[in-house]
Amino acid sequence: MNKYVTAALGLVFLHSLHSPHACAAEQAAEQPSQRLQSLVEMEQQPPASRTLNIHGWKAPTGGKVLFIRTTELPIIDLHVSFAAGSAHDGAHPGLAAATFSLINEGVPGKDLAAIMETFDGLGARFDMNINHDRVTFSLRSLAADDKREPALHLFNQLLGQPVLSDEALKRVKSQLHELIEAQRLNPDVQINQALRETLLPGHPYARPVFGTSASVSALSHAQILAFHRQAYSATGTLITLVGDLTVEQAQALSLQVINALPASAAMPATLSPLPSDAINSRHIERPSSQTHILLGQPGVAVQHPDYLTLKVAHVIFGGQRLNSRLMTELREKRGLTYTAQLQTPAWQAASLAIIDFKTRPQYRDGSVAMVQTLYADFLRDGPTQQELDDAKAYLRSSNALNSASNAQILSRLVEINQFDLPLDLDFSVSQVQNLTVAQIKAALNRQFDAKKWSVVTLGPTVDQQPLPPPASGTAGHMCRADTGNVAS
């Protein structure tokens, strides 16, 4: 519908991007590291990481298990996943979601309510999720035998002996219809769906996880049983464990999970999307006080040699931090948005780069043009050495910080398990420490093109206005801490 005129608007304001890196007038000319005593005195030391050994093993039937032992809190976390997400729907959209939703509807002797009561009565937390690639089931339990064992018993029953009755399928279909309708009206779901359809046309990743109303209605009980038999099997199961267990206990526990499952042939791998050069823009009309804007391009899969390099590049451009280029230009200087990010959602066989923000409707075209220009500059020049040094330090330290809780450790270990990464929590971060500006620039230009953003917007159509100029007082924003020599 609406085409974007990515004309000179963005260029007008570019002058300000290159203003000198000056501190606010009243600041002393000295570097912040000298103004802050604590920075001057801070010992230079490499971030101390918590010693966490990854134990890994494979079951003869094909399940893979990763375990990290932490004994300080008497709790355990168990995470089990299967390649049974919606990308495996084949010709029956909603098949994976319906099968997944049936899992906790009943086991022999217990209906849904009784299952919930049992977990609650043990103080255990059961959770389940589905995405395009996988379904996951997780359990957090107290480590004490009398709580852990009955909770695990029920958990294994859910995985290995769900009733999957035709009666329950009717209820599940009804829930799915409800979900599909709610998602249809949810603007965030709508715009992300539209972008995926634009970037991955015809690919299963572009389809909604829950299917469509018509396809869900058409699902048969026999299809569900067949899908469950194949997809919820020991072959290809990923088990991740963290907590207060000995290695022997963890091994026994993982065997119980695996033995509860049937063995069958592995699920076929999802094919990577074909490279596409299409650029499509789309506007979804909707009354709201902000316009939601997404700019997207296909990225590279996690296994690609450029993946980590691009991840660092995108932390610099639009990572989850106040001093990324996107946040500096859109938020700090112009007050156009509360938050703006470049996200890189990754599936097993594909990934995307998505610039995501919301702003007032009258600045839609101006801000899209400005973001495109910012990215073009980034491709042309690459990051600065300072930006790269800062990003490396940031990644090193935040890696060390992400080992404090069992929940953090679990989520990192699940990622290692799913993407078959080396068994080292520090692997990704150590890999990027030797990257150079030139390597980042080269990888960016190999994989991305400043002219190939597909743009999807959702909001009201109003007369477009030029962006407000950067606020006068904001020269100070460019004053940066010189932590290159003190950061650890």
Partner: protein, 447 residues
């Protein structure tokens, strides 16, 4: 027979859980000469520490017409002070790999940084500078006010849930300032000025009005030395005592009707109830917490079991009771009507009242009580997993006027609640005179 079995259950539980009540992690407190209180909890699992500076000021304290003042001030503290330029404090922390942010609530404003122990001095020096010498310039406030207005559009104006919550809260607090949105009304934001912020900062950011909470791989001595050095040099300043926001005991039944472009109608019910600080006794609060878990705050709760999993007339069932306020709180039930088995919101309300009347007429069984008690006690242990969560609990208790030491008694106190106590709080507080209702109807503007 049943009672006998649950009797044993209870005892089996008490052993490990009483052990929990022991302060497993050493916790220390001291107060600097300028009045800043410091609480340190040692947690040596990983070489990480979190530092949270809590001020006893929030949206409930704001003068009429200046809603959003505390939150705007929180934003502006990052816009430069004597040692750092605008935006620089965040940059320094981010480049150290720290995770850092701030939040504003009804009673409190808090700033937090999670970093490595040897970096703790940087967090202290920055926070000490920001709390005492923030520049709060008019030219920085203009773009930042625009950012806050975008934040309001994002979180409230364009967010159905946020908007419904805001409207219900303003209805549910006829006599206190708790009905004012934390982020502020848009018309108030529009007329907020840097001068307002400076005045608020002068009045409320005294060291004696703050608590520094540090949890992680540190000792009392290292924290004390750093705190004395960076915060100890700030002069003591006079304090403005906050008034406790109090509600009417029986404001009367109130109702609002909203229309939103959502898939299914929604019913929200909020009862005026006391908080930890306004309850006649602590047992009342624990009984309300258990009642919340028993009615809708857990997967096996009565409303979920009967009306969502059983009769399937609800597609989502939630409830909330937060006791950690200086003033009176709310007990909230929130359900979404199933579009597959549609019933009217009046019908939904009648069905909910039937469940509430049940518990008012008959105390829960011991089994049911043990189940929700187990849930709450297990949650307390799970919450110790994240140091930020621990610091959040310590900071909340201290900032509303309770003591962090009270946290150590919670398991004991939960264990003393009887089925009759639950019945009693249900009879006392789940009444029509204390009820505010929001009916959120489906607006068909897109069809």
């Amino acid at each position: 027979m049943d009672t006998q079995r649950s009797g044993t259950l209870l005892i089996a539980w008490l052993l490990p859980l009483l052990a929990l009540a022991e302060p497993a992690q050493p916790t220390h407190q001291f107060t600097l000469d300028n009045g800043l209180k410091v609480v340190v909890r040692e947690d040596h699992r990983a070489p990480v520490v979190t530092s949270q500076l809590w001020f006893k000021v929030g949206s409930a304290d704001e003068p009429p017409g200046q809603s959003g003042l505390s939150h705007a001030l929180e934003h502006m503290l990052f816009k430069g002070s004597s040692k750092v330029c605008a935006g620089e404090a965040a940059s320094i922390l981010e480049n150290l790999g720290a995770s850092q942010n701030a939040f504003t609530d009804k009673d409190v404003t808090a700033y937090y940084q999670t970093l490595q122990p040897h970096q703790l001095g940087v967090a202290f020096e920055l926070m000490a500078d920001m709390m005492s010498t923030a520049r709060l310039r008019a030219e920085d406030f203009l773009p930042e006010r625009a950012v806050i207005q975008e934040e309001r559009r994002l979180r409230v104006d364009d967010d159905f849930n946020g908007r419904a919550q805001e409207r219900l809260a303003s209805l549910a607090h006829p006599a206190s300032s708790y009905g004012v949105p934390i982020i502020g009304w848009m018309h108030d934001l529009q007329r907020l000025s840097a001068a307002d912020l400076r005045q608020w900062y002068q009045a409320r950011y005294a060291p004696g009005n703050a608590t520094l909470v540090v949890v992680g791989d540190v000792t009392q001595n290292t924290v004390k030395t750093l705190a004395e050095r960076y915060f100890g040099v700030l002069p003591a300043r006079p304090l403005v005592e906050s008034r406790t926001p109090l509600e009417l005991a029986e404001p009367g039944e109130r109702k609002i009707i909203l229309h939103q472009p959502i898939a299914a109608p929604r019913l929200m019910m909020a009862f005026n109830v006391p908080s930890l600080m306004t309850a006649d006794q602590r047992k009342t609060v624990h009984a309300l917490r258990l009642l919340n878990a028993l009615l809708a705050g857990s997967n096996s709760a009565r409303l979920r079991k009967r009306l969502q999993f059983g009769e399937r007339v609800f597609s989502a069932t939630l409830s909330d009771y937060n006791a950690l306020y200086r003033g009176d709180s709310l007990f909230t039930l929130d359900v979404e009507i199933s579009t597959q088995h549609p019933i009217s919101l009046d019908d939904a309300q009648t069905r909910i009242w039937t469940v509430l009347d049940d518990i008012k007429a008959t105390p829960p069984t011991r089994d049911e009580l043990e189940r929700v008690r187990t849930l709450l006690i297990a949650k307390q242990l799970y919450d110790r997993d994240a140091i930020e969560q621990q610091a959040d609990r310590l900071g909340s208790f201290e900032s509303i006027g309770a003591s962090w030491r009270d946290l150590d008694n919670e398991v004991d106190e939960l264990n003393q609640v009887t089925p009759e106590d639950i019945q009693h709080v249900a009879v006392t507080y789940l009444t029509r005179q204390r009820l505010s209702v929001a009916h959120v109807l489906v607006e068909n503007r897109h069809e």
